[in-house]
Symmetry: C2
Subunit: 446 residues, 2 copies
């Protein structure tokens, strides 16, 4: 896909005027947008303005927000207004949210009143809600129409709607009572009433529901579009399947970051500034420094043992890391299982029992491997110390890794919130204590 | 959503016969399937058999594979065959793949020949390819039909097709030449030819292409369905938007595990056996033990320095962990950026420069914090040693974390393949060397 976009950019940059026109007409708006983003904003606008207005609007909707606002500054006001009028309702509300007050003041008077109100209404919903994700370009019908009348209405409205494949049925108060598939309208006898063909709609979300919940519902029910209602059950918008996909992808990225020590980065690495990257990373790094002070204090506490048996130091990184690694494995499995809903809080007894068995098996295997090295480097006493330590450290680390996400969930925190680094840090400190306590006991030191 | 499903299960378990019937008629097949999965297979079948055949097939398609095969064993052969005949082509091919040879031999003779051949053909594609994901229930038209004729064909075929919203246009050799939206067919003048209304189709995938690539294409182009062609450009199937969503979700789980030290676990934690969990974890744990031997060897090499300055040990876990933590942050950011295509291999120069600046800032901040503790615990000399070590360790750790995913990508490995634990392990060993080398130099030891 990448080379295709590079090729289109190349045509835009150097190609003769007629190949530019051909590319604008032939390529998918998503590809045209990606190709424009590789150009300087000036050249991007000089290119895009050669396309018909409706196509300009489609392409504009696919541009990322940063590039949209860049283009909005250099696009002549009348052109920008014409593009915004043609854009999908949800896309232009998103654009509006990105504009500066100055840009908004320049743009809004140039729009028709209906569009102005629609933009203000959609832009008012809080980020992350179903309301902020929905579009107002849905098709709606009263229940009393016949199938033929309904098709006539849809045929007329089709160009302005995001989808007419699912039309919503609303009563005189705009309350949502059902929905009808275009497929069923076409197959129905000409005189059948919409009310008889429609399915009763029971899966609608509320405007204030989480966008992620709306996306999960679309995925669960394999829907093309999900209706959104207000507190009085009035239909106010729809969320389409492609927006659900975008939300799921953003959620996956968020989960990925949450399970790491990078916090609150809302753009990807490519678009982030140095200051954003610094802030996303310094918090956890600092917290973990203070977490690791406990490990350091543990070591300091056992200074005599260490001084008397310096070969113990060789095994310290291995033993500490093994507890942290086993713990982060358990945490990873548990976080994912809780996130996908595969395991519930009430399952903890069963899961704990199985985790214990796995951890004992892992600990025994690791102990066997490490004690071979132990015999060669420190003799049988040291080998015994590190074998016992390894078993205990792996078991304790695994249990910490399993229980921490459960506990976070229990107090209604996202289990992925930094469980892995927290687990590693706690398991590390515990490992130091276990190791040197066993060493002191077995090597019979004061 | 969970409580809703629990409620439906409760009705199935205890409810009077007419509320069971009402739930089977009213609830979404996805919810009925989830509710059945909470019952014993016997009761699940006794419940499901009360639904009309077409609904049984819809629900069956939503059951997870394990439960499907359980039900397939207890469902009477004639019932199972009737259900399979009604299932979507891709879902029944998936079911067929899960059945034992014995179950297949019992089922196949009870099906019509067309279905038998269709199942065998679809089941033959390798797991993870577009072919294995596609369905053969697509609607296709010849280019010469008029809009009215096309609508008549679609009206007749609608009940058997997964979607008629996008119909594919094929020539006499079944080669894909374009596609037409139902919306455009309805809006077109009655005598317009399909060939005049259709869009030329340029986004089709090949049967052997990766399923993940097909899903990405559906997401990128906001498609309802993506056509799949064979080597001769003949249309052989379509992949629908809901299947793309499932693939994206599975990919997100895979990415999540890949970036951790859990390998090759194909089910979630809930369904995994003890032996599966052991195997998924032991490999990395063992590898990392041997990775950490380098850290141990580093410490052993500096035994004299340590013996002479035991307070150095207090700071060892903090310094080692900081390098590993900084490195795993960089790796996390880089892996995600490479996975989402936000950063390309050719960008490495620019990214490296910015990473260096961020790493220097992080290193300076960390050094400032830790040297305060250093002065109190070890005096100014030790404080200088740990401040310098911290700066260098954070910079080196970050660079390792950034470059390793790049290098893995370069040699065509998935950058997520264990970069994070590998980075931590390499950064740890490097940290030991940096710390004690600086200590030896500054504290002027032999």
């Amino acid at each position: 896909m990448d080379t295709r976009i590079h090729d289109i950019s190349g045509v835009f940059r150097q190609g003769p005027a007629d190949s530019v026109g051909a590319a604008l007409a032939r390529e998918h708006p998503a590809d045209i947008a990606a190709a424009l983003e590789e150009l300087a904003p000036d050249l991007a606008w000089q290119t895009l303005r050669q396309a018909p207005r409706a196509r300009q609007a489609r392409v504009f909707g696919y541009l990322d927000h940063e590039f949209q606002t860049l283009l909005a500054t250099i696009t002549p006001r009348a052109d920008l207004a014409a593009i915004v009028m043609e854009m999908h309702a949800d896309e232009r509300a998103d654009l509006y949210k990105e504009l500066s007050d100055q840009q908004r003041d320049a743009l809004m008077p140039a729009l028709a009143q209906a569009e102005r109100e629609d933009i203000r209404r959609l832009a008012a919903y809080e980020e992350g809600t179903a309301g902020a994700l929905m579009t107002s370009d849905y098709a709606a019908l009263p229940p009393g129409l016949s199938a033929t009348e309904a098709l006539t209405v849809l045929r007329r409205e089709a160009p302005d709607k995001e989808t007419i494949y699912r039309t919503y049925v609303i009563d005189a108060d705009r309350a949502l009572i059902g929905s009808v598939r275009l497929q069923d309208l076409i197959a129905a006898p000409a005189r059948a009433r919409v009310a008889d063909i429609m399915e009763t709609e029971t899966h609608a979300v509320h405007v204030d529901d989480e966008a992620a919940e709306a996306a999960r519902r679309i995925a669960h029910y394999d829907m093309l579009a999900l209706p959104v209602v207000d507190a009085e059950n009035r239909l106010v918008g729809i969320i389409t399947h492609d927006d659900a996909l975008d939300v799921m992808e953003a959620e996956a990225t968020e989960d990925f970051y949450l399970a790491s020590t990078v916090t609150g980065l809302e753009t990807g690495l490519g678009a982030a500034t140095i200051s954003m990257l610094y802030r996303a990373r310094i918090v956890w790094l600092m917290l973990l420094v203070f977490g690791n002070i406990f490990s350091g204090a543990g070591i300091a506490h056992f200074e005599d043992t260490i001084a008397a048996h310096l070969p113990l130091m060789f095994f310290l990184p291995i033993l500490i890391a093994s507890g942290g690694n086993a713990g982060s494995q358990s945490a990873t499995l548990m976080i994912r299982a809780l996130a996908t809903g595969e395991i519930r809080l009430s399952d903890w007894g069963r899961v704990l029992g199985r985790e214990l068995v796995v951890a004992i098996l892992l600990g025994l295997s690791m102990a066997a491997a490490i004690s071979v090295i132990g015999v060669f480097r420190g003799g049988p006493d040291i080998a015994l110390v590190i074998a016992l330590s390894m078993i205990l450290i792996v078991i304790v680390g695994s249990l910490i890794g399993m229980l921490l996400p459960f506990l976070l969930s229990r107090v209604n925190l996202d289990p992925a919130t930094a469980s892995t680094p927290l687990v590693t840090s706690i398991a590390d400190a515990t490992g130091v204590l276990i190791y040197f306590s066993i060493a002191r006991a077995i090597l019979s030191l004061p």
